[in-house]
């Protein structure tokens, strides 16, 4: 191994006992004469012998790639967000300031209800999506997990059915739900009409009142299966005598789950919530397929706005600033989780 590294690095392998015809000691090392004769290479050799050097080939390539393409890109994006770059010219890096960020937050807080600018709506919807979608998907997932866990027939089939939507791409589910929501031929309005509830039929994805709700419903449909699988694993880890103890203690079914079982699923909730929130922040594809780049204020989110600003109106610097804000949000979601893991010594 060592001689190979030496050869790769083009270094002398004079003191290598295999090739250098040294005064071999009985313990397999070389005599100090040979080492002294090449002080320079021996220090290099020593360094190459260290654990650090030996571990390099395993982590360095990946680190370089990730460093350049992920963290490098983030850094560069941040740099661009500090410029005033727009249009088709090259960016100039002379005057770097936080103007784009102040512009964003000024707009957010300048906006009144309904008449507010796109920044306000995009940020607001992003938060609503983040919170409502996550909570709803967790709740539905938990309910499904509890039902599937209760020794039902065809358990595996149900599990697969519920998890299946998650494996579909956003493009597929967005088109699918666009059909479902179609005011004339869509399954939802058709069904409502068929059972005599035609008055409840709505313009689901064009009426601003229902737009975001419709999107979240579809996303919950797609991702509650994932929450279910995470919860199911959590439920399986709880020994059956916990259920039995609660029952003997006099707890009703509802109380048993609410007070004994669900609190023990905290770890599952945290990990599922983090993943769901990250998905919520990335819901761009879904909205893009359903509405194009202009979903209107009621369904606009930061990711969509970033795309519009950058690639629609070529406000590169402003788009980058929005991307950084989105990045900060994602960090805000992940950081507490990582901190918790770190504190528990699981990192």
């Amino acid at each position: 191994m060592r001689s190979r590294i030496l050869r790769v690095l083009g270094a002398s392998d004079e003191d290598d006992p295999e090739t250098a015809e040294p005064d071999v000691r009985t313990d397999g090392g070389t005599t100090s004469d040979a080492a002294a004769a090449s002080g320079e290479t021996s220090r290099l050799g020593q360094w190459l012998d260290s654990e650090f050097a030996k571990s390099l080939p395993f982590w360095l390539p990946a680190t370089l790639l990730v460093g350049l393409f992920v963290y490098g890109a983030i850094g560069w994006n941040f740099l661009i967000s500090l410029t005033d770059w727009q249009g088709l010219r090259q960016p100039t890096y002379e005057s770097l300031d936080f103007e784009m960020y102040t512009r964003f937050f000024d707009s957010v807080f300048a906006g009144g209800l309904l008449s507010g600018p796109q920044e306000y709506w995009a940020l607001r919807n992003t938060f609503v999506l983040l919170v409502v979608f996550t909570v709803a998907a967790l709740a539905v997932g938990l309910l499904l997990a509890i039902l599937v866990d209760r020794d039902i027939r065809f358990e595996n089939t149900f599990r697969t059915i519920y998890l299946l939507p998650m494996s579909l791409s956003f493009v597929v589910t967005a088109i699918f739900w666009a059909w479902m929501y179609n005011p004339e031929s869509g399954l939802i309005n058709q069904t409502l009409g068929a059972v005599g509830l035609g008055s409840l039929a709505q313009q689901w994805i064009s009426d601003p009142q229902y737009k975001l709700f419709a999107v979240m419903f579809a996303l919950v449909w797609q991702f509650s299966g994932y929450a279910m699988v995470v919860y199911l694993a959590g439920l399986r880890a709880i020994p059956s005598d916990q259920y039995e103890a609660a029952k003997v203690d006099g707890a009703s079914l509802l109380k048993m789950y609410w007070r004994v079982i669900v609190p023990q699923l905290r770890a599952s909730t945290t990990s599922a919530a983090v993943v769901l929130m990250v998905f919520a922040l990335k819901a761009f594809d879904f909205l893009y397929v359903m509405f194009g780049t202009r979903p209107g204020p009621s369904a606009d989110i930061l990711a969509m706005m970033m795309y519009r600003e950058s690639f629609g109106t070529t406000n590169w610097a402003y788009g980058s600033a929005i991307a950084m804000i989105l990045f900060a949000l994602a960090l805000g979601v992940i950081a507490p989780y990582l901190y918790l893991q770190f504190k528990r010594g699981e990192l």
């Binding site: 039995e244 103890a245 203690d249 006099g250 007070r259 609190p263 905290r266």
Partner: protein, 380 residues
Amino acid sequence: MAELQLDNITKTFDDGGDEIVAVDDVSIDIQDGEFLVLVGPSGCGKSTTLRTIAGLETITDGAIRLGGEVINDKRPQDRDTAMVFQSYALYPHMTVRENMSFGLEESTDLPDDEIRERVTDTAEMMGIAELLDRKPGELSGGQQQRVALGRAIVRNPAAFLMDEPLANLDAKLRAQMRTELQRLQENLDVTTVYVTHDQTEAMTMGDRIAILDDGELQQVGTPLECYHEPSNLFVAGFIGEPSMNTFEAHTDGDRLVAERFEYALSERHEDAIDGDNVVFGIRPEDVEVGSDPDDSHTYEVVVDVVEPKGDENYVHMAFDADRENPETFTATIGGLRRVEAGDTVVVRFPPEAVHLFDGDTGEAVLNRSLDTVEDVEPLL
């Protein structure tokens, strides 16, 4: 507080079309305030029996009565029982106080301060008052065990159900908790059903013990009844450590002929026996080692292995030491008597200590005579 009656209860499980009988027609009447120990080897149905009382399993047939009321179809939460699990089943996310309050909060309408007071009182009685604000994960096994007991006691139920509650403790602590649990049960005077596979626990703790094997009730009786008057071979072999020595034999006139020895029967023996096949049994402590060879019922045997226990020695001996795998039987002798492997000794099987069992059914036909039992004279 109530009496608990198990009336011909049967529990069968369906295992892919096969019917498995876990509990087979078991009837036990447990008196109010009685400590009944259900004991048997693993898989004998003792835990299932306990779980049917708690309502965690439904019974296939029969009736369970608690305080005279049939509780077959009641849900576990509506039965007035408290259970202690082998794993303790403490709720890991709750403090000790919350663990102990949970049952009262769920099963009673007591106001919060009353619950608080009861939990505090019970915790003090159990010596866990200073642990009330800790979580189960921060407690030692022994402390968790106390909390589990406290959680059951605070409920003040009609019956305690305990499923091997001491099994996870180390030997020293287990012996200590054994006496403590007994004292607690006596003071609280609550009907208790205690499941264990450990015959020492059964012998020392129970007012009565019920021995189960293969789902069937073998015997119910006081520990000493079960020890001295086992109703069949299974009970004789299960109760007592080391186990009773048994030898298959057949009658020949007034003698009993076993494979390697013959035993002259007394009149008492002969009256009891009917049928040819007999199992001859004798407890290890009844085997007299080092008898006068001229005495009756004496045999020359070779010592195979000696297990010193300090207070006494278990001596494994064989009639047929010359064989490859000699069939041994056991005698216990005082710890200060020395005997070594390979020694030839004379043993005596005293006629009054002999148990005889029917060779075909295993039922006891004659148990040892208890005429020689003597009371310790009180000093005052």
